[in-house]
Symmetry: C2
Subunit: 413 residues, 2 copies
């Protein structure tokens, strides 16, 4: 009898009817002879309603984060009770546990706590008594008993962390897509579902805009070696298995292509090339809670250099604002230039480590299609470029084809 941890997101449990569907799937797993721990999120829309209430009672003020966690955690608590009831009404024996009851201990950083320890004795006891355990995602408690929430992607993290703590045989992340695709099917119609992907590839795909899961949960899975499957709660299709890389994975040069639109580029020109300059720039940006991606700086020949980076288009105004007072410190001729309407394109694959020429092949294919590359940044298993947003869809299709992901032209140098 194997032990399976499942996770169902807010859309999957968004209505009473969907909760019954989820309950049926859980029951099926149970009836196939497995022990089941099912992690559920708040019903879609519930969290937004709670945030609205919080805004209303506090006027213009900022709700206390400690109380925000007490408030938001009711969302998952509602779902666990309803899911357990639904299962029990179907003749199963299900028990709900909040994060605190399940022994999920966190630090005290409210609204974005980190799991520090899991004591799964209550989960084991319930499983041993023959119950299906329905566990609240996204939440935990501090050693002193305060309620905490884990922030974005928290329910995935709960599932993966609990799978590690109880040494589950399998962890299944149910979502509204069939798995991880070689590219966004809305952009590349012949994108294919990936059967198996390594943690590192999944992380690079996620950080490049393929938001099937938050990076945080994937990082946790990698750290503790938790194999998990991403699959749809709406059909019976097999999903994508995320696991340690293995030999066969290397034979594929590029696992997938990811894209991220609505980006903007900021270039600071005429910057003195000396220690501390980059720190001042990105310190100011990070103090404003802006997320910076792709940072590019070229070697300087004259002691004066340019630094470029990308931000979300919506953050561009704020970025210019916080950098204005810093400009004077950077050099007498420092100036700032900003451009919106750009997009990021990445090719990801652990296979590129053992194949040279991937970058050259990428740039050549884009050039052949008449697509101009603005910035380039690389990691060991990813190459990212920025292009004009108007050309990003075409660029993705070109990449998808160039690296044989459509199953038409397989190319490896």
């Amino acid at each position: 009898m194997s032990l399976i941890v499942q996770k169902y997101g807010g859309t999957s449990v968004g209505t009473p009817e969907r909760i019954r569907n989820v309950a049926s799937r859980i029951l099926e797993t149970r009836e196939a002879g497995h022990r089941v721990v099912a992690v559920v999120s708040a019903m879609a829309g519930v969290t937004d309603n709670l945030l609205k209430l919080a805004a209303e009672v506090t006027g213009d003020g900022r709700p206390t984060e400690r109380e925000m966690d007490v408030l938001l955690s009711t969302g998952e608590q509602t779902t666990i009770a309803l899911t357990a009831m639904a299962l029990n009404s179907m003749g199963a024996s299900a028990i709900s546990l909040t994060g605190a009851q399940a022994g999920i201990e966190t630090d005290g950083v409210h609204t974005k706590a980190r799991i520090s320890n899991i004591t799964p004795s209550e989960v084991h006891r319930m499983l041993d008594e023959g119950h299906i355990v329905i566990l609240a995602g996204f939440q935990g408690r501090t050693p002193e008993g305060r309620i905490t929430t884990l922030g974005r992607g928290g329910s995935d993290l709960t599932a993966i962390a609990m799978a590690a703590a109880v040494d589950a045989d399998l962890c299944q992340i149910y979502t509204d897509v069939d798995g991880v695709y070689t590219c966004d099917p809305r952009v590349v119609p012949d994108a294919k579902k990936i059967e198996e992907i390594s943690y590192d590839e999944m992380l690079e795909m996620a950080s490049s805009g393929s938001k099937v899961m938050q990076s945080r949960a994937v990082e946790f899975a990698k750290k503790f070696g938790v194999r998990f499957e991403v699959r749809s709660s709406l059909n019976r299709n097999p999903g994508t298995l995320v696991c340690e890389e293995n030999m066969s994975m290397e034979s594929v040069v590029i696992r997938g292509v990811s894209l991220e639109k609505k980006q903007a580029k900021v270039t600071i020109e005429g910057v003195r090339d000396e220690p501390g300059v980059a720190g001042r720039i990105f310190g100011a940006v990070s103090d404003a809670n802006l997320i910076v991606d792709m940072i590019v700086q070229n070697v300087s020949k004259t002691g004066i250099t340019d630094i470029s980076f990308t931000v979300n288009e919506a953050d561009l105004g704020k970025a210019k604002e916080v950098l204005a007072p810093v400009l004077a410190e950077l050099g007498p001729d420092a100036s700032i230039e900003a451009e919106s309407g750009i997009a990021k394109l990445s090719v990801v694959g652990i296979g590129m480590r053992s194949h040279s020429g991937v970058a050259a092949q990428m740039f050549a294919a884009l050039a052949d299609a008449g697509i101009n590359i603005q910035m380039i940044s690389t990691s060991e298993i990813k190459i990212t470029v920025t292009v004009s947003e108007a050309q990003i869809d075409e660029a993705a299709r070109v990449m998808h084809k160039a690296f044989g992901l459509s199953g038409e032209v397989a190319v490896a140098s």
Copy 2:
């Protein structure tokens, strides 16, 4: 610096705006130099929505009671977070505590648990640190950590039990009426607010239909000697103080008149007057979860007697149904007679213990007004009669005047 426990019901916290009003009142108390523990209920309507969700996910089935408690307790948890946030946004320092966090321990009877113990160390710690404590009413936890709810009137009970546990100087129950009245002002326009009432009188008023509070919370207050004030959250009027009886109370013969409409009378005639008969009748009724009030049996001369009792009109059909199979056991000539459209009228006062003739005065006044009495039942400090529902309002006005409650004619025999 005195310690005050306040309780605000579901209507008082029914909207974000009302929560802000409640927060203002709590803050006022704090700024007057008191330490405050405020117990809050679920926002009006929230519990009904949760019950509806539970019904939907379970189809026709009955939701598991353990899970019902996990579900319902989210209602108060939402209110404590919102109330604490509202206070913090006003510059106060407030901390929310769930029943479990506040050390409210109960037995394991889900949906109607009893408080078995309170360990208020966390409440004390928060108060000592200078916080206002916002406590979830209606809920607790078992020693094993399961979430429980206290059933109807549970938030009043939480407030009174916590007031006892922390040895509060005052407990204030805020509601949507100004206090306890000598009679229902909708029936008797010159009914007056009672300044001070004993626990026993309050209990008798409650059990006779004046549902300002559930009897259960009053019983608890009596047992532990918790003085409390019932007052309105909508204005600044002083309320009614509920406390131990004192000498001055005895000078008032009748404290108040209470009435309860929509009652029905069931009479079982031709019953053998032997041990076990009443047990069989009321066993059957109680197995069906019907609440029986006023039970009247007269002495028998022939070995055959009649037994009458009242039930809520809505339960009459069910009562007849469950009694039908019992009838044959009661005697060869046993028959059942039922009558709806009746009402109960009670006069309550600890003063009647030291005054004879109260019953005679009551019956005479009703007779003078042409009101026929159907059943009579008395306790040490209460006399209850049933009359036709069509005459109950008039009967209440007659009583109110006869016992000088309107301040016109003071009569004592």
